[in-house]
Symmetry: C2
């Protein structure tokens, strides 16, 4: 007699494929989240952690670099989704800085493994992955520049300059992410201090931007 399969187990081939792929990326994220640099991971470790046979890896990724690039890509999506969430909140301009920082802190902690990967590998061992993270950060900065332009508070600055300023902000955000991830639990005072300092840093940048005059 054929065993009866519960309806939720009736995965299509495509679903199963997607699930294995996600098990592999999650396994790699989990291992890097334990402090292992991505370049120190072996294919065998990742498949063991994912609970799949080593050969299954190659049905999804050509090599470890390709898996790393997939993680960078999904990290980039996570970053840009933050901007969507900030837009959706419809924060009044006056509260924009503080509320965005509050949202960012919560967001980093809610996506701990992805931010740990981006923050760690952006100066990690693989040049291929470092460059991919640079591209995602530039992509994020370009979107941020558009959002800042949309606010209309810096009408006299060229979009090229807004890109440069956004790049500075993104670098500061990613530095803060590493600090946020290292915050000791159950020490809310440290969190408050970090948040306050982070808001002040961004204020300096926006104050500089507000007084910026582009060369004609």
């Amino acid at each position: 007699m054929k065993p009866v399969r519960a309806p939720e187990a009736q995965e299509s081939r495509d679903e199963r494929k997607l699930r294995t792929r996600s098990q592999l990326t999650q396994a790699a994220l989990k291992l890097t989240g334990q402090g292992r640099g991505f370049t120190s991971l072996s294919l065998r470790e990742i498949t063991r952690e994912a609970g799949v046979v080593p050969a299954a890896f190659y049905r999804h990724f050509r090599d470890l670099d390709e898996l790393g690039l997939a993680l960078v890509e999904s990290g980039g999506v996570t970053l840009r989704r933050l901007l969507r969430e900030i837009r959706r909140e419809q924060i009044p301009p006056k509260a924009m800085l503080e509320d965005s920082v509050t949202l960012y802190l919560r967001y980093v902690l809610a996506h701990r493994l992805e931010f740990a990967f981006i923050a760690g590998e952006r100066s990690g061992g693989s040049p291929v992955i470092r460059n991919a993270i640079r591209r995602e950060a530039a992509h994020f900065a370009a979107e941020l520049a558009q959002d800042v332009a949309g606010l209309g508070t810096l009408p006299e600055i060229k979009i090229e300059t807004l890109h440069m300023i956004s790049g500075l902000i993104v670098g500061t955000l990613l530095n803060a992410a590493a600090d946020i991830l290292d915050l000791p639990e159950a020490q809310p005072l440290r969190t408050q201090e970090l948040k306050r300092n982070f808001i002040l840093e961004l204020k300096v940048i926006f104050l500089g931007a507000a007084h910026w005059r582009d060369a004609p």
Copy 2:
């Protein structure tokens, strides 16, 4: 017959000890400079690279963390020596930003392995080392704040605020270090672009600082 030793080989016990210690730290720097995260290094690899027997390691360091902390410490000294070099150049205030950035680029490339270690491990796998790098960065920021205060161009800003602004600058410097180290050789245009962007970022920060008013 006793072999005759050349005078340069007549090392004292202390000199030999110092030399072995330096071989061990240089070996670890070299391995991390090849893209290996510090936490992925084994004691045996380091001693092999250094050309000493594994047991010799323990005459210098209790464990790998202690070696890592020694690298952080010497990286911190290298960072602060940069400030001394900038002071020694007696750059006129008008040229301060551009000339300091020129000096910084040259300095990072001249201390490639040390900066690669600091930039890589500041969000690397070891919390002990990450925190030590944070302390060195804070130490460097405090000295930078004193230097900026000494310039007298921001007389109305509290030293506490100067510390915060210096922290922002140090974060930006370390982000730039990672980019400088990844500059493709023989592409001077990329170097010029990076330098120009880096100067503009610092200008935004100093412009913000110049317009900063502390809450009374």
